[in-house]
């Protein structure tokens, strides 16, 4: 939330600085001296908008994921549906631990 606000504020500030620059330059053109330098506050506003945007984008990033295969496998095991071929009941039947169910009812 905070990150989004910061990004929004930074965008608005940047647009405002851009518009101010345009106005300033047309002001200079109207006065007949088109090579004046930009006023300091516009430059400051732009740099501040840059910093705010960087911080806001960083704060807004989604939580980092683990690097190890182990954690990736854990995440996938929770998301994916169980493959019926790897089910425990099949093993238990074949090992004689559980009573055998008739072949018609076990899925392929």
């Amino acid at each position: 939330m905070l990150g989004q606000i910061m990004l929004l504020v930074a965008t608005v500030a940047l647009l405002h600085a851009a518009y101010s620059t345009y106005e300033h330059l047309s002001h200079l053109k109207a006065l007949g001296r088109p090579e004046g330098s930009l006023p300091n506050d516009i430059v400051l506003e732009t740099i501040a908008a840059l910093f705010l945007a960087i911080v806001g984008a960083t704060v807004r990033s989604p939580p980092l994921r683990e690097v190890t295969w182990r954690s990736e496998m854990k995440r996938r095991a929770q998301e994916e549906e169980e493959d019926p071929r790897l089910s425990f009941s099949l093993f238990a039947q074949r090992a004689g631990l559980a009573p055998k169910v008739s072949p018609a009812s076990t899925s392929l």
Partner: protein, 304 residues
């Protein structure tokens, strides 16, 4: 890359009525009625394919036909569409017709491994196991890296109780995908069924090692085994029990795996019993039965 992945998905498709496909079907029907798919671009075609598969999950061939028609109009010569057509035909036509269709497709373009897989599937379903095995082996000779293919082959062998061949197929799957603990578990259970107890023990312990969360916040003695870890500990218990009660099992390993020395074996037995009791307590919130046989029988119903 995307094509290969989706072809793989089509190759292993089996009608399964899950909640997710019901949801896809309901949402998709609404969109289909409004003709919204044509305007969505790339994602739209993927979604149409998913909708067709979801419709076939529930036997709704009419919706599947409509999706198929839209897709085949747009992509007339695509291997994915051919595969989808084949899946659609499997739902209603007789197996011989489907087999002939797949044979034609393979004669034209033998690089479509998904079609080959589906052909082996159909052969297995009509009971021609030996032909299915032949086809699948030929396909795997050509496309070694299809992990799902190796798993399917292992499953066929397991259903015919050819445990050694199943072990060989699973070892290829392990080579291809060594980070997936489920395949190690499958290998361990198959080794147990093949009476190679030391190998099974080794593999069960590998699975525990892979899935146990030892960099979590609890010390190992406090952590509770769940899910695949519990299942692996159960396997360890079965193996240690067999090794203790039948010393002959320790020396007759077809893969020449050495069994653990007796002091390690009894320590392992105690550890696995303790782990199983912790797991039982966690699931059922009551004290587990003391006798070994009862504990194993109780856990057989609890382990998923």
């Amino acid at each position: 890359m995307e094509v290969a992945f989706s072809l793989q998905r089509l190759a292993v498709y089996k009608p399964r009525q899950s909640k997710k496909s019901k949801q896809t079907l309901d949402e998709g029907l609404v969109l289909l009625g409004r003709g919204a798919y044509a305007s969505k671009g790339e994602a739209g075609w993927d979604a149409l394919e998913k909708l067709a598969l979801a419709a076939l999950d529930y036997g709704n061939t009419e919706v599947a036909d409509r999706c198929l028609k839209i897709l085949s109009d747009k992509f007339p010569d695509s291997p994915r569409v051919y595969c989808l057509t084949g899946i659609r035909m499997e739902a209603t036509e007789s197996p011989e017709v489907v087999l002939r269709y797949y044979d034609e497709l393979l004669a034209e373009d033998s690089s479509n491994s998904a079609i080959w897989r589906r052909k082996a599937n159909v052969l297995r379903q009509i009971g021609k196991i030996d032909r299915a095995v032949e086809e699948l082996s030929a396909m795997l000779d050509t496309y070694y890296t299809e992990v799902e293919g190796w798993l399917e082959l292992a499953d066929i062998y397991l259903s015919c109780q050819q445990y050694t061949y199943a072990l060989q197929s699973l070892s290829h799957a392990l080579l291809l995908s060594p980070q997936n603990p489920a395949y190690f578990l499958q290998f361990a259970e198959t080794a147990y069924l093949a009476e190679d107890i030391p190998l099974a023990l080794k593999m069960f312990l590998q699975t525990v090692d892979m899935t146990d969360d030892d960099d979590g916040d609890m010390t190992p003695s406090d952590s509770v085994p769940t899910g695949i870890t519990l299942r692996a500990w159960f396997g360890v218990k079965l193996c240690t029990r067999k090794l203790i009660t039948e010393p002959r099992a320790a020396s007759s390993s077809p893969s020449n795996t050495p069994a653990p020395i007796p002091s390690y074996l009894s320590a392992l037995d105690n550890l696995s019993t303790e782990r199983l009791r912790t797991g039982y307590l966690d699931i059922k919130h009551e004290s587990p039965p003391a006798a070994e046989g009862d504990l194993i029988a109780a856990l057989t119903t609890l382990v998923k």
